[in-house]
Symmetry: C2
Subunit: 179 residues, 2 copies
């Protein structure tokens, strides 16, 4: 049987943990793999205005990993037992103050399956209305509304570089240019 | 000054290491962040046949993190001192046996900047010619040539779920549908 033979936790942290697993591969061989365990996350493209070139709401957020500010869509980790859709709605509200009438799933991706099991569930949200924003500590962000076509230009020019954000925006763009 | 104040290595492994860093945030507050350190990688869309709906070469590869086979573009980690372009050419050759006349960079992404500094440099390759394939151990893969339009359909239907692969294919598709 392909898959896990045994597992040894080498780091158990606040957000991630790391296992070194002994794994049987499809050819029957056995080896060790480092695996960052992550609870998974949801992310959502908030559509502020519809039409042929809709306006979407990005956030510009400090990311230590990138040593600066990064354009992203609202996103965050799943709470224990929380559904991906509920998580997307919660993160949208916490990070932007908006609530959505409709959430629709675009896809679910593996961020980087060579070393982590993290999956991100991607949604698109419309029918937005403004409430209160409750920003979490450690999140330094400003709202950045932008036309979808301009956001795609920012992807192509290397200004938008966050993986989940690039995927969700390009899928939204494909849907709109095909209608 | 925003950024690192101090760093403590909590795991030092074969491919990744994990630091817990004390960080000053833009508002002056100080906190700890877990950061998976990764050397970075390159990935490449091999274009087998040009034209309005080009044929691209995917690989179907066993990924323990996904508990099964995942469609991907050829990719791999940068060797110490290796340029992203050289890495892309090397991985293309090792994983598929093809060498490319031309490599062109699409963009560079952060796979998941909440907890890792991993960046993947994305390329498109054409003018391919077949040589010998040298497959690394731990890589169980089969070649999967497919029309680009069909690959985009596989993204939308959730059959292609690897982040870097989704981004590189969608960017390639956008370029081709705009010409």
């Amino acid at each position: 049987m392909t898959g896990k033979i045994s597992s040894r936790k080498v780091y158990d942290g606040r957000i991630i943990s790391v296992d070194v697993d002994t794994v049987r591969f499809p050819d029957g061989s056995v080896g060790e793999l480092e695996m960052v365990r992550h609870p998974g996350a949801s992310a959502v493209v908030p559509v502020l205005k519809g039409g042929r070139d809709p306006q979407v709401l990005l956030i510009k957020q400090y990311r230590y990993a990138a040593n600066g500010f990064v354009y992203e869509i609202p996103a965050g980790r799943l709470d224990p037992g929380e559904s991906p859709e509920k998580c997307a709605a919660r993160e949208l509200q916490e990070e932007t103050g908006y609530t959505a009438k409709r959430l629709r799933q675009l896809t679910t991706i593996y961020t980087t399956p060579g070393f982590t099991d993290e999956r991100i569930h991607l949604f698109i949200a419309d029918g937005l209305s403004k409430g209160q924003s409750e920003r979490e500590r450690d999140e330094f962000l400003e709202l950045f509304p932008v036309a979808l076509s301009k956001a795609v230009g920012m992807i192509r020019s290397g200004q938008i570089v966050d993986g989940k954000t690039v995927i969700a925006l390009l899928l939204t763009f494909l849907e709109h240019t095909r209608q």
